[in-house]
Symmetry: C2
Subunit: 340 residues, 2 copies
Amino acid sequence: MSRKATARDVADLAGVSRSAVSLVLNGRAAGNISAEKQRAVIAAAQQLRYTPNAVALSLRSQRTRTLGVLSWPGRARLAQVLLHTAWQRAHADHYLMLLMDTGGDPETERRQLDTLRDRQVDGFLIIAPDMTEYEPPDVLLSVPAVLLNCVDAHAALTSVVPDEVGAGRLAAEALLAHGHRTVGLLVGDEAAPQTRLRVRGVQQAFTAAGLSTPAPVDAGTAIDAGYRAARQLLLEPDRPTSLICTQERLAVGAVLAAADLHLSIPGALSVVSLEDGEELAGSLVPTLTTVHRPDAAMAEQAVDLLVERLAAEEPPEVRQLLFSCQLRTRSSVAVPASGR
Amino acid sequence: MSRKATARDVADLAGVSRSAVSLVLNGRAAGNISAEKQRAVIAAAQQLRYTPNAVALSLRSQRTRTLGVLSWPGRARLAQVLLHTAWQRAHADHYLMLLMDTGGDPETERRQLDTLRDRQVDGFLIIAPDMTEYEPPDVLLSVPAVLLNCVDAHAALTSVVPDEVGAGRLAAEALLAHGHRTVGLLVGDEAAPQTRLRVRGVQQAFTAAGLSTPAPVDAGTAIDAGYRAARQLLLEPDRPTSLICTQERLAVGAVLAAADLHLSIPGALSVVSLEDGEELAGSLVPTLTTVHRPDAAMAEQAVDLLVERLAAEEPPEVRQLLFSCQLRTRSSVAVPASGR
DNA sequence: CTGAAAGCGCTTACAG
DNA sequence: CTGAAAGCGCTTACAG
């Protein structure tokens, strides 16, 4: 690294003391430094392209303007929009991010938390790829931290999460409103909190409509898994008139299966995806109606909450923010084929 | 942030000087500190859960063990495997990453480079989402930096890139080996260096086989764009017996189009994707043969190069590393239907 | 109005 | 074998 100029270099060139440089460059010169010296400092700083060493600044101020971010992208897929938007928002507030992958392992997470603390990060952002319950390590309880897309079971930490039950309900209601009475419910990981909540929402809506509650079919998470599960469902004699997929890739598989069976969408089959984060569903043929999780808004809120907390005198109260999801109506839902 | 113990705290508790603490904890106590005091220091450090303040350490050592990473994920899609693997490799060497999104704007990039330099990062990693030519700002030339998935036109910087021409050739040869004589070539952004190289590779192979060179069809980058382009191509009277798509999503669209036209893959149509980074093509039905870009290996190499450079006395010579891509044979290529 | 000093938390020569 | 001092690059009281 080619050596950067220091405040001392500027002071020497301008013929003033180091303190004077600091005062002038930080706008606290008024009434302290003569106009002439001020000009000299500014000129010298410009000439040397001086900018302060952030490490030295951090040591002095005890703040690093850095956020520690913990996530655990399984199998190389990470929460892109969540992470990217959080980065943008933090950057707007002049915060940088130190990213860590815990791999979902509590022991690793603990170590990384320590590393981040040694680095003196100002606060922590925990970003869960899928909505889940998060068990925070003790250290996290005594530092500024915000959970994004996960909730702390003990409600000790502020969190920002989507309303997954509401999302499920929205998808079901879109189908019910068109007159569907049966639905095939393809889910990713049945054991995941996210999936359970979405399923609950769908079931609530069907129950409220006085219909039998659809049972989830655990299909897996890949496109071909969705294809197989959908195909099997659609081959049954009393096949459902509609499909809800909790994962976007499952929906892609379902579309493939429908094409295979010459079942037109939405003529012969309606499909709703409960996820559209990868922007797959919206550009399929036909385009799929989805329930959109407001990742960008959630990420912004989470960072705002954390930044506010860092600026505040004392910790604000713990909050659990629930963000509504929105139905994105596209071309995959219609009135079910009469007769059947 | 609950206050962390400092070396002073440890020294006080152990009844020794601050220097003694440093010596013992850094394994340089032998012959310097009595065994008894060593034990006292270690006990005190443990009791107070002491770990050194990395910011103070950085100021003293003039090294931050931090890598500055510049990327420009357009429209929220970033080079996942590249970034994630680079992170893993850096982490294994005890380097952390400060991530920046330049948005593809030179002015922004410049500012972020300055910010990163103020933060005293040890080196820079430039990660291009798509293989491209990169015009490095002047500052970058005088600091440790490695380009990942892009090349410096002036060859002043070490870079790690995939062999895109070879990738195109590989795809074409797989088709030619099965007896195909015609191919529809669906490309994303025709102007992008990445696309141009892939197209060149395909054309080279066809020319070498004494066949007419296929002309690229600029389809766009989304699934439905691929669908439309493929459909149009397949509806022509002298439709090609095979398709090569430079982008994975284009290939998904092609599969949809084929299903629509009741063209079975690979019976009536063979398909190869020149990209499989999103793991879409490999789990389609049928699974698609792809040319795989070795992102993980490339990212590891790039980080290794950078870390070596940071440890070296003087800058090693500039290198341009070209990584071969590999054909991943799956179920979408077969001998063309005879007759037609 | 200005300069010298202290201190953030470390480590490394340097005296004793 | 051990402690006091210097210094990394800053800023903020504190004397003059």
